[in-house]
Subunit: 205 residues, 2 copies
Protein backbone atom coordinates (compact mmCIF):
# COMPACT_ATOMS: atom_id res chain seq x y z
CA UNK A 1 0.00 0.00 0.00
CA UNK A 2 1.13 3.54 -0.73
CA UNK A 3 1.72 5.63 2.42
CA UNK A 4 -1.34 7.82 1.81
CA UNK A 5 -3.63 4.77 1.60
CA UNK A 6 -2.10 3.39 4.81
CA UNK A 7 -2.72 6.70 6.56
CA UNK A 8 -6.28 6.79 5.28
CA UNK A 9 -6.95 3.25 6.53
CA UNK A 10 -5.48 4.11 9.92
CA UNK A 11 -7.65 7.25 10.14
CA UNK A 12 -10.76 5.21 9.38
CA UNK A 13 -9.85 2.65 12.03
CA UNK A 14 -9.36 5.42 14.58
CA UNK A 15 -12.67 7.04 13.65
CA UNK A 16 -14.49 3.72 14.07
CA UNK A 17 -12.75 3.09 17.42
CA UNK A 18 -13.78 6.55 18.65
CA UNK A 19 -17.41 5.96 17.57
CA UNK A 20 -17.52 2.62 19.36
CA UNK A 21 -15.92 4.04 22.52
CA UNK A 22 -18.40 6.95 22.44
CA UNK A 23 -21.31 4.49 22.09
CA UNK A 24 -20.09 2.55 25.13
CA UNK A 25 -19.63 5.70 27.21
CA UNK A 26 -23.04 7.13 26.19
CA UNK A 27 -24.75 3.78 26.87
CA UNK A 28 -23.30 3.72 30.38
CA UNK A 29 -23.47 7.40 31.34
CA UNK A 30 -26.03 9.07 29.09
CA UNK A 31 -25.21 12.26 27.22
CA UNK A 32 -24.76 14.57 30.19
CA UNK A 33 -22.67 12.02 32.09
CA UNK A 34 -20.27 11.48 29.18
CA UNK A 35 -17.22 13.60 28.34
CA UNK A 36 -14.87 13.72 25.36
CA UNK A 37 -12.05 12.87 27.79
CA UNK A 38 -13.81 9.67 28.92
CA UNK A 39 -14.40 8.74 25.27
CA UNK A 40 -10.75 9.37 24.34
CA UNK A 41 -9.58 7.24 27.29
CA UNK A 42 -11.93 4.41 26.32
CA UNK A 43 -10.79 4.53 22.68
CA UNK A 44 -7.13 4.70 23.70
CA UNK A 45 -6.51 7.87 21.69
CA UNK A 46 -5.57 11.43 22.64
CA UNK A 47 -8.13 14.22 22.99
CA UNK A 48 -6.69 15.63 19.78
CA UNK A 49 -7.31 12.28 18.12
CA UNK A 50 -11.03 12.50 18.96
CA UNK A 51 -11.31 16.14 17.87
CA UNK A 52 -9.60 15.33 14.57
CA UNK A 53 -12.66 13.24 13.66
CA UNK A 54 -15.51 14.86 15.63
CA UNK A 55 -15.87 18.51 16.54
CA UNK A 56 -17.74 17.91 19.79
CA UNK A 57 -19.57 15.48 22.08
CA UNK A 58 -22.76 16.69 20.33
CA UNK A 59 -21.43 15.67 16.90
CA UNK A 60 -20.53 12.21 18.21
CA UNK A 61 -24.00 11.72 19.71
CA UNK A 62 -25.62 12.92 16.47
CA UNK A 63 -23.59 10.45 14.40
CA UNK A 64 -24.62 7.58 16.67
CA UNK A 65 -28.34 8.46 16.73
CA UNK A 66 -28.52 9.25 13.00
CA UNK A 67 -26.74 5.98 12.16
CA UNK A 68 -29.11 3.71 14.12
CA UNK A 69 -30.99 2.28 11.11
CA UNK A 70 -27.67 1.21 9.50
CA UNK A 71 -27.06 -1.10 12.45
CA UNK A 72 -30.45 -2.78 12.06
CA UNK A 73 -30.42 -5.01 9.00
CA UNK A 74 -33.57 -7.11 8.56
CA UNK A 75 -33.34 -10.50 6.80
CA UNK A 76 -32.79 -10.16 3.04
CA UNK A 77 -35.92 -10.31 0.93
CA UNK A 78 -38.39 -9.31 3.62
CA UNK A 79 -40.70 -6.49 2.52
CA UNK A 80 -43.93 -4.67 3.35
CA UNK A 81 -45.56 -5.65 6.63
CA UNK A 82 -43.09 -8.51 7.15
CA UNK A 83 -40.21 -6.05 6.82
CA UNK A 84 -41.75 -3.62 9.33
CA UNK A 85 -42.02 -6.52 11.79
CA UNK A 86 -38.54 -7.84 10.98
CA UNK A 87 -36.91 -4.42 11.50
CA UNK A 88 -38.33 -4.14 15.03
CA UNK A 89 -37.40 -7.75 15.87
CA UNK A 90 -33.87 -7.36 14.52
CA UNK A 91 -33.44 -4.18 16.57
CA UNK A 92 -34.82 -5.93 19.67
CA UNK A 93 -32.57 -8.97 19.23
CA UNK A 94 -29.40 -6.93 18.69
CA UNK A 95 -29.99 -4.26 21.33
CA UNK A 96 -28.50 -6.07 24.32
CA UNK A 97 -25.30 -6.90 22.39
CA UNK A 98 -24.74 -3.76 20.35
CA UNK A 99 -23.10 -0.73 22.00
CA UNK A 100 -24.33 1.44 19.09
CA UNK A 101 -27.98 0.44 19.61
CA UNK A 102 -27.71 0.62 23.40
CA UNK A 103 -26.30 4.13 23.09
CA UNK A 104 -29.16 5.06 20.75
CA UNK A 105 -31.69 3.77 23.29
CA UNK A 106 -29.97 5.56 26.17
CA UNK A 107 -29.77 8.87 24.29
CA UNK A 108 -33.48 9.03 23.36
CA UNK A 109 -34.31 11.01 26.45
CA UNK A 110 -31.59 13.63 26.00
CA UNK A 111 -31.57 14.08 22.25
CA UNK A 112 -33.06 17.56 22.43
CA UNK A 113 -29.57 18.58 23.57
CA UNK A 114 -27.78 17.54 20.38
CA UNK A 115 -30.22 16.60 17.56
CA UNK A 116 -31.61 19.35 15.33
CA UNK A 117 -35.40 19.74 15.66
CA UNK A 118 -37.14 17.52 13.12
CA UNK A 119 -34.38 14.92 12.90
CA UNK A 120 -34.81 13.02 16.15
CA UNK A 121 -34.92 9.25 16.39
CA UNK A 122 -38.70 9.17 16.74
CA UNK A 123 -39.22 10.86 13.37
CA UNK A 124 -36.45 8.83 11.77
CA UNK A 125 -37.95 5.47 12.81
CA UNK A 126 -41.52 6.59 12.16
CA UNK A 127 -40.52 7.46 8.59
CA UNK A 128 -38.97 4.02 8.06
CA UNK A 129 -41.96 2.18 9.55
CA UNK A 130 -44.40 4.27 7.49
CA UNK A 131 -42.50 3.44 4.28
CA UNK A 132 -42.77 -0.32 4.95
CA UNK A 133 -46.46 -0.01 5.88
CA UNK A 134 -47.10 1.99 2.71
CA UNK A 135 -45.54 -0.85 0.66
CA UNK A 136 -47.84 -3.21 2.52
CA UNK A 137 -50.86 -1.12 1.48
CA UNK A 138 -49.59 -0.88 -2.11
CA UNK A 139 -49.22 -4.67 -2.25
CA UNK A 140 -52.74 -5.20 -0.87
CA UNK A 141 -51.51 -6.62 2.44
CA UNK A 142 -53.23 -3.89 4.47
CA UNK A 143 -56.51 -2.11 3.84
CA UNK A 144 -56.02 1.33 2.28
CA UNK A 145 -58.06 3.07 5.02
CA UNK A 146 -55.41 2.30 7.65
CA UNK A 147 -53.80 5.50 8.97
CA UNK A 148 -50.18 4.63 8.10
CA UNK A 149 -48.58 7.59 9.91
CA UNK A 150 -50.55 7.04 13.12
CA UNK A 151 -49.79 3.31 13.16
CA UNK A 152 -46.10 3.98 12.47
CA UNK A 153 -45.96 6.44 15.41
CA UNK A 154 -47.82 3.92 17.58
CA UNK A 155 -45.28 1.17 16.81
CA UNK A 156 -42.30 3.43 17.49
CA UNK A 157 -43.91 4.64 20.74
CA UNK A 158 -44.67 1.11 21.88
CA UNK A 159 -41.17 -0.18 20.99
CA UNK A 160 -39.61 2.76 22.86
CA UNK A 161 -41.68 2.01 25.95
CA UNK A 162 -41.05 -1.74 25.69
CA UNK A 163 -37.33 -1.08 25.43
CA UNK A 164 -37.31 1.02 28.61
CA UNK A 165 -39.37 -1.43 30.62
CA UNK A 166 -37.41 -4.41 29.33
CA UNK A 167 -34.19 -2.63 30.29
CA UNK A 168 -35.37 -2.00 33.84
CA UNK A 169 -36.80 -5.49 34.33
CA UNK A 170 -34.51 -7.86 32.39
CA UNK A 171 -31.60 -5.82 30.98
CA UNK A 172 -33.28 -6.18 27.53
CA UNK A 173 -33.34 -9.98 27.64
CA UNK A 174 -37.08 -10.29 26.98
CA UNK A 175 -37.30 -7.42 24.48
CA UNK A 176 -37.96 -9.66 21.45
CA UNK A 177 -40.97 -11.22 23.24
CA UNK A 178 -42.29 -7.78 24.12
CA UNK A 179 -41.94 -6.54 20.55
CA UNK A 180 -43.68 -9.62 19.16
CA UNK A 181 -46.51 -9.08 21.63
CA UNK A 182 -46.93 -5.50 20.35
CA UNK A 183 -47.43 -6.78 16.80
CA UNK A 184 -49.79 -9.50 18.00
CA UNK A 185 -51.94 -6.83 19.72
CA UNK A 186 -51.83 -4.46 16.79
CA UNK A 187 -52.37 -6.81 13.86
CA UNK A 188 -56.18 -6.95 14.24
CA UNK A 189 -56.20 -3.13 13.98
CA UNK A 190 -54.24 -3.11 10.73
CA UNK A 191 -56.94 -4.50 8.49
CA UNK A 192 -54.61 -7.30 7.46
CA UNK A 193 -56.01 -9.03 4.41
CA UNK A 194 -56.01 -12.76 3.63
CA UNK A 195 -52.79 -12.41 1.62
CA UNK A 196 -51.09 -11.68 4.90
CA UNK A 197 -51.88 -14.85 6.81
CA UNK A 198 -48.32 -16.16 6.46
CA UNK A 199 -46.78 -13.35 8.47
CA UNK A 200 -43.93 -14.56 10.69
CA UNK A 201 -42.24 -13.34 13.80
CA UNK A 202 -45.10 -12.32 16.01
CA UNK A 203 -44.66 -15.17 18.42
CA UNK A 204 -47.52 -17.42 17.38
CA UNK A 205 -45.67 -19.91 15.17
CA UNK B 1 -55.50 23.26 68.71
CA UNK B 2 -53.54 21.29 71.29
CA UNK B 3 -49.74 21.61 70.85
CA UNK B 4 -49.36 18.00 69.72
CA UNK B 5 -51.89 18.53 66.93
CA UNK B 6 -50.07 21.70 65.85
CA UNK B 7 -46.79 19.80 65.76
CA UNK B 8 -48.39 17.01 63.77
CA UNK B 9 -49.81 19.45 61.22
CA UNK B 10 -46.43 21.15 60.88
CA UNK B 11 -44.69 17.80 60.36
CA UNK B 12 -47.16 16.88 57.62
CA UNK B 13 -46.63 20.22 55.89
CA UNK B 14 -42.87 19.71 56.00
CA UNK B 15 -43.19 16.18 54.66
CA UNK B 16 -45.33 17.41 51.75
CA UNK B 17 -42.88 20.26 51.04
CA UNK B 18 -39.96 17.81 50.97
CA UNK B 19 -41.83 15.47 48.59
CA UNK B 20 -42.65 18.35 46.25
CA UNK B 21 -39.07 19.66 46.33
CA UNK B 22 -37.77 16.15 45.65
CA UNK B 23 -40.16 15.80 42.70
CA UNK B 24 -38.87 19.06 41.22
CA UNK B 25 -35.23 18.10 41.72
CA UNK B 26 -35.75 14.59 40.26
CA UNK B 27 -37.71 16.00 37.29
CA UNK B 28 -34.83 18.35 36.50
CA UNK B 29 -31.82 16.17 37.30
CA UNK B 30 -32.95 12.56 37.25
CA UNK B 31 -32.18 10.20 40.12
CA UNK B 32 -28.40 10.12 39.80
CA UNK B 33 -28.17 13.90 39.34
CA UNK B 34 -30.21 14.62 42.48
CA UNK B 35 -28.91 14.81 46.05
CA UNK B 36 -30.60 15.02 49.44
CA UNK B 37 -28.77 18.33 49.94
CA UNK B 38 -30.29 19.80 46.76
CA UNK B 39 -33.72 18.60 47.87
CA UNK B 40 -33.32 20.11 51.36
CA UNK B 41 -32.24 23.43 49.84
CA UNK B 42 -35.20 23.47 47.47
CA UNK B 43 -37.64 22.66 50.29
CA UNK B 44 -36.04 25.26 52.57
CA UNK B 45 -35.44 22.73 55.35
CA UNK B 46 -32.30 21.34 56.95
CA UNK B 47 -30.75 18.00 55.95
CA UNK B 48 -31.99 16.67 59.30
CA UNK B 49 -35.48 17.87 58.38
CA UNK B 50 -35.42 15.71 55.23
CA UNK B 51 -33.99 12.68 57.04
CA UNK B 52 -36.65 12.98 59.75
CA UNK B 53 -39.24 12.07 57.10
CA UNK B 54 -37.29 9.98 54.56
CA UNK B 55 -34.37 7.70 55.25
CA UNK B 56 -32.69 8.22 51.89
CA UNK B 57 -32.88 9.57 48.35
CA UNK B 58 -34.05 6.07 47.36
CA UNK B 59 -37.00 6.23 49.77
CA UNK B 60 -38.03 9.62 48.39
CA UNK B 61 -37.91 8.35 44.80
CA UNK B 62 -39.88 5.23 45.78
CA UNK B 63 -42.59 7.34 47.42
CA UNK B 64 -42.92 9.51 44.31
CA UNK B 65 -43.06 6.60 41.84
CA UNK B 66 -45.39 4.47 44.00
CA UNK B 67 -47.73 7.45 44.51
CA UNK B 68 -48.16 8.24 40.78
CA UNK B 69 -51.69 6.82 40.39
CA UNK B 70 -52.91 8.98 43.32
CA UNK B 71 -52.04 12.08 41.30
CA UNK B 72 -54.08 10.92 38.30
CA UNK B 73 -57.77 11.20 39.08
CA UNK B 74 -60.05 10.45 36.11
CA UNK B 75 -63.48 12.15 35.88
CA UNK B 76 -65.95 10.80 38.43
CA UNK B 77 -68.27 8.08 37.15
CA UNK B 78 -66.11 6.90 34.27
CA UNK B 79 -65.61 3.13 34.26
CA UNK B 80 -64.48 0.21 32.10
CA UNK B 81 -62.95 1.13 28.75
CA UNK B 82 -63.88 4.79 29.19
CA UNK B 83 -62.00 4.85 32.51
CA UNK B 84 -58.89 3.26 30.96
CA UNK B 85 -58.93 5.99 28.30
CA UNK B 86 -59.68 8.75 30.82
CA UNK B 87 -56.81 7.70 33.10
CA UNK B 88 -54.27 8.02 30.27
CA UNK B 89 -55.75 11.34 29.10
CA UNK B 90 -55.81 12.78 32.63
CA UNK B 91 -52.18 11.74 33.11
CA UNK B 92 -51.23 13.26 29.74
CA UNK B 93 -53.05 16.53 30.46
CA UNK B 94 -51.53 16.97 33.92
CA UNK B 95 -47.97 15.87 33.14
CA UNK B 96 -46.59 19.19 31.93
CA UNK B 97 -47.93 21.00 35.04
CA UNK B 98 -47.35 18.45 37.79
CA UNK B 99 -43.88 18.10 39.33
CA UNK B 100 -44.92 14.73 40.81
CA UNK B 101 -45.90 13.31 37.41
CA UNK B 102 -42.89 14.86 35.67
CA UNK B 103 -40.63 13.29 38.28
CA UNK B 104 -42.36 9.93 37.73
CA UNK B 105 -41.77 10.20 33.99
CA UNK B 106 -38.14 11.23 34.44
CA UNK B 107 -37.43 8.41 36.92
CA UNK B 108 -38.75 5.58 34.69
CA UNK B 109 -35.34 4.96 33.22
CA UNK B 110 -33.48 4.78 36.52
CA UNK B 111 -35.99 3.01 38.71
CA UNK B 112 -33.94 -0.20 38.88
CA UNK B 113 -31.76 1.79 41.30
CA UNK B 114 -34.46 2.34 43.90
CA UNK B 115 -37.64 0.32 43.22
CA UNK B 116 -37.85 -3.28 44.44
CA UNK B 117 -38.12 -5.79 41.58
CA UNK B 118 -41.76 -6.42 40.73
CA UNK B 119 -43.02 -3.02 41.91
CA UNK B 120 -41.89 -0.75 39.11
CA UNK B 121 -44.11 1.80 37.41
CA UNK B 122 -44.65 -0.40 34.36
CA UNK B 123 -46.20 -3.19 36.42
CA UNK B 124 -48.13 -0.72 38.54
CA UNK B 125 -49.78 0.97 35.54
CA UNK B 126 -50.26 -2.29 33.65
CA UNK B 127 -52.19 -3.65 36.66
CA UNK B 128 -54.44 -0.59 36.74
CA UNK B 129 -55.10 -0.67 32.97
CA UNK B 130 -55.79 -4.41 33.07
CA UNK B 131 -58.35 -3.92 35.88
CA UNK B 132 -60.28 -1.33 33.83
CA UNK B 133 -60.13 -3.49 30.70
CA UNK B 134 -61.36 -6.49 32.69
CA UNK B 135 -64.36 -4.42 33.85
CA UNK B 136 -64.94 -3.58 30.21
CA UNK B 137 -64.98 -7.29 29.33
CA UNK B 138 -67.28 -8.07 32.28
CA UNK B 139 -69.70 -5.35 31.14
CA UNK B 140 -69.72 -6.69 27.58
CA UNK B 141 -67.90 -3.67 26.16
CA UNK B 142 -64.98 -5.76 24.87
CA UNK B 143 -64.98 -9.27 23.45
CA UNK B 144 -63.87 -11.88 26.00
CA UNK B 145 -61.12 -13.24 23.70
CA UNK B 146 -59.12 -9.99 23.97
CA UNK B 147 -55.78 -10.59 25.73
CA UNK B 148 -56.27 -8.07 28.56
CA UNK B 149 -52.73 -8.31 29.96
CA UNK B 150 -51.07 -7.94 26.57
CA UNK B 151 -53.24 -4.95 25.63
CA UNK B 152 -52.60 -3.32 29.02
CA UNK B 153 -48.82 -3.71 28.54
CA UNK B 154 -49.14 -2.35 25.01
CA UNK B 155 -50.96 0.78 26.22
CA UNK B 156 -48.42 1.42 28.99
CA UNK B 157 -45.55 0.90 26.54
CA UNK B 158 -47.08 3.21 23.96
CA UNK B 159 -47.87 5.93 26.55
CA UNK B 160 -44.30 5.71 27.88
CA UNK B 161 -42.87 6.11 24.38
CA UNK B 162 -45.31 8.91 23.52
CA UNK B 163 -44.35 10.72 26.70
CA UNK B 164 -40.66 10.59 25.86
CA UNK B 165 -41.09 11.71 22.27
CA UNK B 166 -43.55 14.42 23.26
CA UNK B 167 -41.08 15.66 25.87
CA UNK B 168 -38.25 15.89 23.34
CA UNK B 169 -40.38 17.52 20.63
CA UNK B 170 -42.87 19.79 22.44
CA UNK B 171 -42.06 19.70 26.18
CA UNK B 172 -45.20 17.50 26.60
CA UNK B 173 -47.53 20.06 25.00
CA UNK B 174 -48.97 17.63 22.44
CA UNK B 175 -49.07 14.59 24.72
CA UNK B 176 -52.89 14.47 24.96
CA UNK B 177 -53.12 14.32 21.14
CA UNK B 178 -50.55 11.53 21.04
CA UNK B 179 -52.37 9.51 23.69
CA UNK B 180 -55.70 9.92 21.91
CA UNK B 181 -54.06 8.73 18.68
CA UNK B 182 -52.85 5.59 20.47
CA UNK B 183 -56.40 4.71 21.48
CA UNK B 184 -57.71 5.50 17.99
CA UNK B 185 -55.16 3.05 16.53
CA UNK B 186 -55.82 0.39 19.11
CA UNK B 187 -59.62 0.45 19.34
CA UNK B 188 -60.19 -1.73 16.24
CA UNK B 189 -57.97 -4.39 17.88
CA UNK B 190 -60.00 -4.43 21.08
CA UNK B 191 -63.07 -6.12 19.72
CA UNK B 192 -65.17 -3.18 20.90
CA UNK B 193 -68.85 -4.11 20.82
CA UNK B 194 -71.77 -1.95 19.77
CA UNK B 195 -72.42 -0.96 23.39
CA UNK B 196 -69.16 0.94 23.20
CA UNK B 197 -69.90 3.32 20.33
CA UNK B 198 -70.29 6.28 22.70
CA UNK B 199 -66.69 6.20 23.83
CA UNK B 200 -65.22 9.71 24.31
CA UNK B 201 -61.78 11.20 24.40
CA UNK B 202 -60.05 9.59 21.48
CA UNK B 203 -59.97 12.72 19.40
CA UNK B 204 -62.78 12.00 16.96
CA UNK B 205 -65.64 13.94 18.59
Amino acid sequence: MAPRVVKQARAERTRAAVMLAAAEVFAENGFSGASVMKIADRAGVTLGGVYFHFRSKEELARAIVAGQPEFVVPPEGSHGLQRAIDVTRTWARQLAESPMLRAGARLVWEQDRFMPAGENSHQQWTGLMAADLQSAVDDGELKPEVDIQAIARMIVNACTGAQMHSYVETAHEDLVDRVEEIWRCLLPALGVSDECKGIKGIGRE
